[in-house]
Amino acid sequence: MVAEKALTVYDAFLRSEKGPKITENVWDNNVIPVTAVELKEKYEIDFGNKFIPTDPDLKERLFRAGIEMLVTVGILNVDTGRAIMVTEEEIRAGIRAAPKRIQLGENKDAVILEPRRSASRKKPIIQGGPTGATVSEDIFVPMIQSYAQEPIVDTIVSGVMSTVDGIPAATNTPFEVKATLAEIRAVREACSRVGRPYLSI
């Protein structure tokens, strides 16, 4: 038996041109909620009052339900109005093909993103930053510096610079691009100021 080859984004795009037609309204109000509740009942999934499951059987049923959800409904491409369908074998091929080790950052500031188990004594990678929240232009560098200077922070997630040269970075204007480039320069500057110029951003 030959192992299924993982799909590419090109395969996904081509399928989104030929998959079953469906409107966003039907998808949101019928397909998703009806299928999700059917699978919840089929696999008898009930979290009770737990935050983290400790029953291996529940985890197995939840995993099977998640795969069946994707195989049953696919993913809607709202631009083409068609669902992209996949098989369980293609999902498992995608899992196998996914990276298992990624370097984030460079030189002495690099960290390795790799699988850790729930019982691991190793902490996850800490990505510090405003996480997309809006930040004033005049304090952008100091604010990012407040994250980069924390020794426990491994990588940086940026915020949104509210203005660039005092002008709002409105969507679909050139100032959007200008502000994005200004943000990147400012994050790099903040990292350099604390001696961590190669932090992943």
């Binding site: 984004v9 998703i32 909620p33 985890k59 993913i75 992209i84 996850p124 407040s146 922070v153």
Partner: protein, 219 residues
């Protein structure tokens, strides 16, 4: 976009935040869809890693009891059956320089760490919707709690989380906005104020009383 990034050999993070309480329904249904869409990120979009963020439709936060349940079950399940690289992001309702904000962050940091996430990203304090209401002190809490809880028994964490979430979940309507970065730090020296350090200390004391050992970190 993804096509270009792939050919450049870039790291591709696919972000997706399932909404609890909307079209999908309850916690279990949302978790089923969260697993499906996480798998789709790797199957259809060639993700290098996935950034989750189950969010509450009423409160706009990731730190509610229900969204924590979803994130914890999804991560622990995928952790059991795959080697996929999984991340989660932080949207507490309270703002900087408040115990509530730090306790919300601590709850999610414990959950993400012990359910097997590989990366945690935060924090968009005050729901990430107010300008300048984010600071490095929240990331300090995120990192230190992650370090303190790594290796803990999930049953013990479930017990602590149940008591911890109860401390803040009835205050969503009156959640404190907190203070801006400029009010929390000396902006020239980039040093947190004494007030914020005191709030941080009192928050760690609460966490210690609940059973999280943070002594090795603060030493």
């Amino acid at each position: 976009m993804i096509s270009g990034w792939l050919h450049n050999g870039n790291v591709i993070m696919v972000e997706q935040m399932p909404i609890f309480g909307g079209y999908i329904g309850g916690v279990e249904e949302t978790a089923i869809c969260d697993i499906a869409t996480t798998l789709a990120s790797f199957t259809l979009l060639n993700a290098s890693y996935h950034l989750d963020g189950p969010i509450h439709i009423r409160w706009g936060i990731t730190t509610s009891r229900e969204t924590l349940q979803i994130a914890g079950h999804v991560a622990a399940t995928l952790d059991s059956y795959t080697d996929l690289l999984l991340a989660n992001q932080y949207y507490p309702i309270a703002g900087p320089c408040t115990e509530m904000c730090l306790l919300e962050i601590a709850a999610q940091a414990m959950l993400d760490t012990v359910s097997g996430r590989e990366l945690v990203s935060g924090c968009a304090s005050a729901k990430g919707v107010s300008e300048d209401y984010t600071t490095g002190m929240e990331a300090r809490m995120l990192g230190e709690v992650a370090m303190a809880s790594a290796g803990m028994d999930p049953e013990d964490v479930n017990d602590i989380l149940n008591r911890l979430v109860k401390k803040y979940e009835r205050q969503y309507l009156t959640a404190p906005q907190g203070r801006t970065f400029q009010e929390c730090y000396n902006v020239r020296k980039i040093v947190p104020t004494k007030e914020y350090l005191k709030v941080y200390e009192s928050s760690t004391e609460i966490l210690t009383e609940l059973g999280l050992d943070m002594s090795s970190i603060s030493d």
